[in-house]
Symmetry: none
Subunit: 242 residues, 2 copies
């Protein structure tokens, strides 16, 4: 790709179960030119001896794979996080197809991450809450049975298809704040609300936090906007003497 | 699909080796609404007990699979035959991508067939000679390693994308809140910040208010989200006893 185009996206596998599937995902990625894999708490640790054979030669992907404890850590430097899921979640986030996501990934500023859940269960609601958007492959409504590597390959394929098409005209809206900045703001917000008794009763607190997180990750605020909001929160938390 | 559209394409597997891969191909097909599979001289005969488990429920495809002795027989009723291959063959036939093939399949008259070769070796030159066109997935030139089911799924996916079969689902994000709701929220926010001494010094207050307003009107929050935020602000303004 020429200078000035968006950086290559990252593929994040959350709590993958089988090393074989990690290898297959690596193979799927490299077929379409993606090399950066991140693993969040792989069930059987890392490295995993079953991954290599399944990667069919995509060793460069496996050798470079980074391991993280949490999804938040894994996407901390990413400005655009797509949670892939086949099921409708009760969250109000935009849903995009692999094609739409690829178009965005090529034209936005900042790094993008495609996030995939564990083979059996898919992403948890809390994982999805971290994402800006949901990516859903439009699939046969009567038979939706994509495995991990297939979901990865469709995303990588669409990204690759558009790699040659995209003009490097990026509108400067102010680079969207990376995930870790948003995260810092959300933590601050929650601490403040905690002190006011907002999260009451306790058994509703997780749902309330999720609602708040979904709401605060929606806007795509830039650096400056997040900084402004944090100033607001500081002011609310520590009123100046007047 | 509506009446008058082209018939669904056929997936032809030529001399497939492993029953497992036949099953995986069936699963890939049904994910994108394709059901008609034809097998040319499957190595281990047919039916094959390894196919079912790998199909992950796509039994309708396997149960309906027809077996032929030759590729010529298998595509006898097809007007448009695409030979899939990753390698350039020394034959002078048009080469199309999965996307281009899908567009043709949807618009031409007569049945179309996507033909895939054996896992290890791919299609023989004589097989390719039967086809009208060659279908090649545009792949990483330094690492082309698509397996059978992956090649099938990319073709089926592109076909499905262009069928009206699967409408991209438009998510109901909730209608954006009307201006007056936003306005009410902003007024509440400002009053709260006023009480904390946020708008200091006074001569900078108008610019600060403008910044805040721009930031709060950016997200396109819906009705419910605005209500949630107002609850948050109320909580900050009137902490509950703990």
């Amino acid at each position: 790709m020429s200078e000035g185009t968006a950086p290559y996206p990252v593929i994040v596998l959350v709590r993958p179960q089988l090393g074989e599937n990690i290898g297959k995902a690596a193979r799927a990625m490299l077929n379409f030119g993606l090399t950066e894999m991140r693993l969040v708490s792989p069930r059987d640790g890392w490295p995993n001896p079953d991954a290599g054979p399944a990667a069919a030669g995509a060793d460069i992907v496996l050798d470079g794979a980074q391991v993280f404890d949490t999804l938040a850590d894994a996407v901390a430097d990413c400005a655009h996080v797509y949670a892939t899921t086949v099921r409708k979640r009760g969250v109000t986030k935009p849903v995009v197809t692999p094609e739409e996501a690829a178009r965005e990934v090529h034209t936005v500023q900042g790094r993008s991450a495609y996030v995939f859940g564990p083979e059996r269960s898919g992403l948890e609601t809390e994982d999805v809450a971290l994402a800006r958007k949901i990516l859903t492959v439009p699939i046969n409504p009567d038979f939706g049975s994509l495995n991990l590597a297939q979901a990865v390959i469709l995303c990588a394929y669409e990204w690759s298809k558009q790699a040659s098409l995209v003009q490097p005209t990026v509108t400067d809206l102010g680079e969207p704040a990376p995930q870790e900045e948003l995260e810092g703001m959300i933590v601050q917000f929650e601490a403040l609300l905690e002190s006011t008794g907002y999260f009451f009763p306790p058994d509703r607190a997780p749902a309330t936090r999720r609602t708040l997180r979904n709401l605060l990750t929606k806007p795509g605020w830039n650096h400056l906007e997040v900084r402004t909001l944090r100033g607001v929160l500081s002011s609310l938390g520590h009123p100046r003497e007047r």
